[in-house]
Amino acid sequence: MKKILAIISFILGLLVGTFALGPFTYSYMAKQKALKKKALEPSQVVAKLRESADLVTTEVTVRKLGLYDSKESEQVLLNNPSSWKLGDRFCVIPVEVNLKYGFNMLSLSPKDIKISLDNKEIEVSLPPPELIDHDYGLNLSTKAMCYNSLLSSKVGHELKEKVRFAAYEAVLKENILGEVGGEVRRNAQLFFESLLKSLGYEKVIVVVRQ
């Protein structure tokens, strides 16, 4: 009788263990395995970050108005003082400049990566963002506007193109990054934080150097 009870107890215990507690243990172990980090060398982390460099680029469109006024010695005027008064032959010519900002990941080195001894924390110091590509085109949504009095001649196509190109060059000289740099940095931090967490790090700090 005792033997039968012992066998029944054993079978019951086996069933409870297998079907009631086993799946929970499996689930726990699977989660731990999923979150388990692989110990990477800083140089391997650098390689991983470089692979995704194209995803941390930020495109910025700048529509600049090139201003021309014949009163100002036939010069292309872009930075006009508030006292400037329009002459009898002037143009407002828009140009659309496409800028792409990103990070020169080739300048990222293993010394920019700090990993804690227990491999749980990582800090990455990214180089400052920079302009990596730019071009300009005609703007279709805003039309150019030119005015000339009866006594003055019309502004020709060649001059309009000159104004447009001057506006493009002026944009390249402007500190656009000063205006959109925050977004460029935040987008890079957001993506690289996810990337590094996928490598198993629990605490990730991404710093963008100024």
Binding site: K2, L5, A6, S9, F10, I11, G13, L14, L15, V16, G17, T18, F19, L21, G22, P23, T25, Y26, S27, M29, A30, K31, A34, L35, S52, L55, T58, E59, V60, T61, V62, R63, L65, L67, N80, S82, W84, K85, L86, G87, D88, F90, V92, P94, S141, T142, M145, S149, I176, E179, V180, E183, R186, N187, L190, F191, E193, S194, L195, S198
Partner: protein, 182 residues
């Protein structure tokens, strides 16, 4: 002695149960996938398609001896914002393994006016012609046009595509394929 059998049996049972493959469970795989996504998904707000835009409105008034003309310029900064906290991830099991159905919120457009320079042939003349309320109305009209031209269907699509690219790449790092709901 009897208790020892029970403990032994439970231990053995837990061991067998935790071996997993003997108990294939889709729900468990999906739960595991969601745990991994929650750990690494991009968080916060993503600004895309930033733009610094200038537009203008001009006016020419015919005078007795000469015409008067003025140009009102408005410079605004516009961008789309994707709230990544509102992205929903729904795991499904396919023949090729787990896939994630991702639903993104519509990108929100933000525009703010930065500068409003005014150019004219004669400031005193134009000051007499227009009240400050009329000036504000023109500035508002130009600012509104900037927003309208920026917030085009094409730009919205571009903003969505950029967001999708970032999310898809993040999930790809986990070996998970993302499918985006329209």
């Amino acid at each position: 002695m009897k208790n020892m059998y029970i403990y032994l049996a439970i231990f053995l049972g837990v061991f067998l149960g935790s071996c997993g493959p003997s108990l294939p469970d889709d729900a468990l795989i999906l739960e595991n996938t969601m745990t991994r996504i929650e750990a690494v998904r991009p968080r916060g707000e993503l600004y895309v398609l930033s733009a610094l835009l200038e537009d203008f409105d001009s006016e020419i008034l015919e005078g007795t001896f000469a015409n008067h003309y003025a140009v009102q310029v408005v410079k605004a900064r516009c961008s789309y914002l994707l709230d990544l906290e509102k992205v929903s991830y729904k795991p499904e099991i396919s023949a090729a393994g787990p896939i994630i159905k991702v639903t993104m919120p519509a990108p929100k457009v933000y525009c703010s006016t930065q500068k409003t320079p005014f150019y004219s042939d004669d400031e005193a003349f134009w000051a007499g012609q227009r009240s400050s309320a009329a000036n504000d109305k023109i500035k508002g009209f130009v600012a509104s046009r900037i927003r309208q031209t920026f917030d085009s269907a094409e730009n919205r699509q571009k903003a969505r595509e950029y967001g999708q690219k970032v999310i898809a790449k993040t999930l790809e790092l986990l070996g998970i394929k993302a499918e985006f709901a329209e």
